[in-house]
């Protein structure tokens, strides 16, 4: 429930009738409308009293505070989300995946985990997927040991850091080691809040508050805000998956639907403490990707558990308003050679993924020509005039596939069998073959085709 332009204009000089134009807009009303849409800054108006300015600033702030953890290229931005469900617009800031290291763990285990978080990177449709943070936990009771862990992580990695300790002194001394990294401190509770505030108020870093319920968080965040600590993350202390869904949903709704400031912060989730084993941790984490936290902490990661989680995060945070498409080019599936089949399809990402995965399943190395069609599926693209014989023909010519194969046989999707005639005219050297209607038929189709050619 953001502030409307019509409400803002009343607070501007002379009730919005000054119209001095010094802000660069023709009227106070136009300026107010821009402010409401976050398209202008309050600083542009030289006549606002400090009180009104502070009041408007507060009212115009995003309903969920943007919190930034870490510094430099590896810093993580969370919060600033605008919707409860991704189809209402889109989710914006992907949650950071954190790997937990306790100072009780043996040296070798610590080294292994640091190595894992560095090494586990996955290429995926042109992106590199990886975990984002290290969460360092004080459990040993020996402060020196915790400090040594923090120091080691700072010296050997540039990951952003979450510092976790029930002992405030240990938390603060660890912070002094890695203050330049802008670590997140966890947990701030009703019992330690005064001590934390006095320890960090001179140079605040982000803090995460923990309560036993959503309600318990409210007085804590109010107190932090009064002390000038604005970058806050919430942990409502949920005990199981259903409680977590409830608490996360209530926090998200309170901030977005009620503009309730004390809960207008991103959250943190701890699959590492909620789940009894690694596979269930990933399930908790997958739930959290959908149900809101900005940071998700895991006790361990490996190749086969981290990849599904990171792909899932990418899927859920894809902007649903933009049709997903892949680049127009000739893709190599398997290791095709000059005798391998040539297939053509449209560039909707889903079409590409499915066709590519079915070709892989067929075990026949193939050249897959993907034609730009505004991210539409084959049949829709044909209906929209983006996959006609007249446009597929020239695309095949300029794609370079003619330099890659000896033969001139092109397999087209069965759903657009009707473009065959046009294509034969556009590509007189090529034999046009109508392939299967469904991608799922490719594994049965391709081996037979290749066998036929051999004979």
């Amino acid at each position: 429930m953001a502030l409307k332009g019509t409400d803002i204009v009343k607070r501007l000089p002379e009730g919005g009738k000054k119209n001095c134009r010094e802000c660069g807009f023709p009227t106070c009303f136009a300026f107010a409308m821009k402010l409401a849409g976050a398209g202008a800054s309050l600083d542009k108006c030289p006549y606002l009293s400090p009180e009104v300015k502070a009041e408007l600033e507060d009212a115009l702030a995003p309903p969920i505070k943007l919190v930034s953890i870490g510094s430099g290229d590896n810093s993580l931005q969370i919060g600033n989300e605008e919707v409860v469900y991704r189809h209402e617009k889109t989710f914006v800031h992907q949650p950071g995946v954190a790997l937990l290291i306790s100072d009780k763990e043996a040296e070798a285990e610590v080294d292994e985990k640091i190595k894992k978080i560095k090494d586990l990177q996955f290429p995926w449709v042109g992106l590199t997927l990886r975990a984002d943070l290290l969460a360092l936990q004080f459990e040993s009771g020996d402060k020196a040991k915790f400090e040594a862990l923090v120091k080691k992580v700072c010296d050997s990695t540039d990951f952003s850091i979450v510092l976790m300790s029930e002992d405030v002194d240990a938390l603060l001394s660890a912070r002094s080691i890695c203050g330049d990294r802008k670590p997140l401190l966890y947990p701030v509770t009703k019992d330690n809040i005064d001590k934390v505030i006095s320890g960090i108020k001179d140079s605040p870093t982000p803090v995460a508050v923990r309560g036993n319920s959503v309600e318990e968080l409210i007085p804590l965040t109010v107190k932090l805000k009064d002390a000038g600590i604005e970058e806050v993350v919430l942990d409502p202390g949920s005990k199981n998956m259903q409680e977590a869904i409830r608490d996360q949903t209530l926090i998200r709704r309170a901030s977005l639907k009620q503009n309730f400031r004390p809960l207008g912060y991103p959250t943190i989730g701890f699959p590492c403490f909620l789940a009894k084993d690694e596979i269930r941790e990933i399930l908790f984490a997958a739930m959290f990707v959908i149900k809101y936290p900005g940071i998700i902490v895991l006790s361990d990661i490996d190749e086969s558990s981290l990849l599904p989680l990171l792909v899932h995060r990418l899927n859920i945070y894809t902007d649903p308003r933009i049709p997903m498409s892949v680049e127009e080019k000739v893709y190599e599936i398997g290791e095709p050679n000059e005798d391998s089949p040539v297939l053509v399809t449209s560039n909707w990402a889903l079409t590409y993924f499915i066709v590519a995965s079915e070709i892989e399943g067929s075990k026949v190395p193939t050249w897959l020509c993907v034609k730009e069609a505004e991210g539409l599926g084959v049949l829709t693209a044909w209906a929209a005039g983006k996959f006609s014989g007249d446009s597929v023909g020239p695309f095949i010519k300029k794609s370079g596939v003619e330099g890659k194969v000896k033969h001139r046989k092109l397999v087209i999707p069965g759903k657009v069998a009707r473009i065959r005639g046009e294509l034969e005219e556009a590509l007189p050297d090529w034999e046009i073959i109508v392939g299967p209607r469904e991608a799922s038929e490719i594994p049965a189709y391709l081996p037979g085709l290749v066998k036929k050619w051999k004979n």
């Binding site: 469900y85 991704r86 189809h87 995926w124 959503v214 309600e215 409210i218 199981n240 998956m241 259903q242 869904i245 409830r246 949903t249 209530l250 709704r253 309170a254 639907k257 009620q258 309730f260 400031r261 004390p262 809960l263 789940a275 596979i279 269930r280 990933i282 399930l283 908790f284 997958a286 739930m287 959908i290 149900k291 190749e303 086969s304 558990s305 990849l307 599904p308 989680l309 792909v311 899932h312 899927n315 859920i316 894809t318 649903p320 990402a349 889903l350 993924f353 499915i354 995965s357 892989e360 399943g361 469904e438 799922s440 038929e441 594994p443 049965a444």
Partner: protein, 301 residues
């Protein structure tokens, strides 16, 4: 500023569909809150979980998906019983043999086999044709006739073939799966057409389930929107329960074939997402994924 928990009230309710007859019957749907929103109302019927059974021994399965079924892969009735031993609520019998592009088995042979499986187990059965629009009409209408009164869930029914199959379902007391290709407008269009001849409590919708990394977010969002339209906005043409048939999609991915753990997570993460979006029936392939999803729907995780 006073905090008042932002609870919502809902105007719509998902239709309740009964599958299976007599003691075997199970109910799906019926909820009038969003998925897992136990804090806003009661959800009487938890999501149900089916495991797949094939009428012919499947090819190309990774060894870790074959292993649990290895002694029953060519015995559909035995396979179905095994699914129940693993804890499935119902089975999804796939008539792969009827595919005209494959063995092209005749409809009456397939129907007899369905009857055998139905008689062999104490749980409801979902029966899926090969997906060939024309052949499925022959096969599914025959199945409907031979299994008269067994209250099967028959599918997929698509806009090209819904008339004859839904008539057979109505005449012989079965329910159908209305399938549309990842498009909420087509989904509604088919529902509207079906509702002219079938009551709401005979229809389950299948907006298609894509696997993680292969378009899962489309399935997720269509299911989530369907629930919103049905439950929050009370649109009576979008209040059927949803089936998420995802096991096969997940296990055919390259990633699921690379390792057992990755495959299990590929299936489980997809299944969990679609549960959160609002699926009322999951169709899974691996018994271990079933175990995990059971914990989720029972609130034991």
């Amino acid at each position: 500023m006073e905090y008042k928990a932002p609870l919502e009230t809902y105007s719509g309710k998902v239709g309740e569909v009964v599958i299976g007859k007599g003691e075997k019957a199970i109910k799906i749907g019926g909820e009038s809150v969003l998925p897992f929103h136990f804090f806003e109302g009661t959800i009487e019927n938890r999501p149900r979980i089916a495991l797949e059974v094939y009428d012919t021994e499947p090819e190309g399965w990774a060894e870790w998906v074959r292993e649990p079924y290895k002694d029953v892969l060519s015995d559909p009735a035995g396979w179905a019983k095994k699914c129940l031993d693993f804890g499935a609520d119902l089975v999804c019998l796939r008539l792969a043999s009827t595919d005209p592009a494959g063995a092209n088995a005749p409809a009456d042979k397939a129907a007899d086999m369905v009857k055998q499986v139905v008689s062999a187990i104490k749980a409801p059965v979902i029966v899926c044709g090969s997906g060939d629009e024309a052949k499925d009409v022959e096969v599914l209408t025959k199945v409907a006739e031979v299994c008269d009164g067994d209250k099967l869930l028959l599918g997929p029914v698509v806009k090209e073939n819904y008339e004859l199959i839904s008539k057979a379902a109505l005449d012989h007391g079965h329910c159908i799966i209305a399938q549309t290709p990842l498009d909420i407008n087509l989904e509604k269009e088919l529902n509207v057409k079906l509702l002219k001849s079938l009551p709401l409590d005979r229809i389950v919708i299948d907006p298609l389930s894509s696997a993680l990394g292969y378009g899962m977010e489309y399935s997720f969002t269509i299911m989530e929107r369907t629930k919103h339209i049905g439950v929050m906005f009370g649109d009576g043409t979008m209040q059927m329960p949803i089936i998420a048939d995802l096991g096969g999609e997940c296990w055919k991915t390259k990633q699921a074939k690379e390792s057992q753990e990755q495959g299990l997570l590929w299936e489980s993460v997809t299944a969990l997402s679609l549960l959160l979006a609002g699926a009322n029936i999951l169709v899974l392939r691996h018994p271990e994924s079933l175990k995990l999803m059971r914990e989720v729907v029972d609130g034991r995780i």
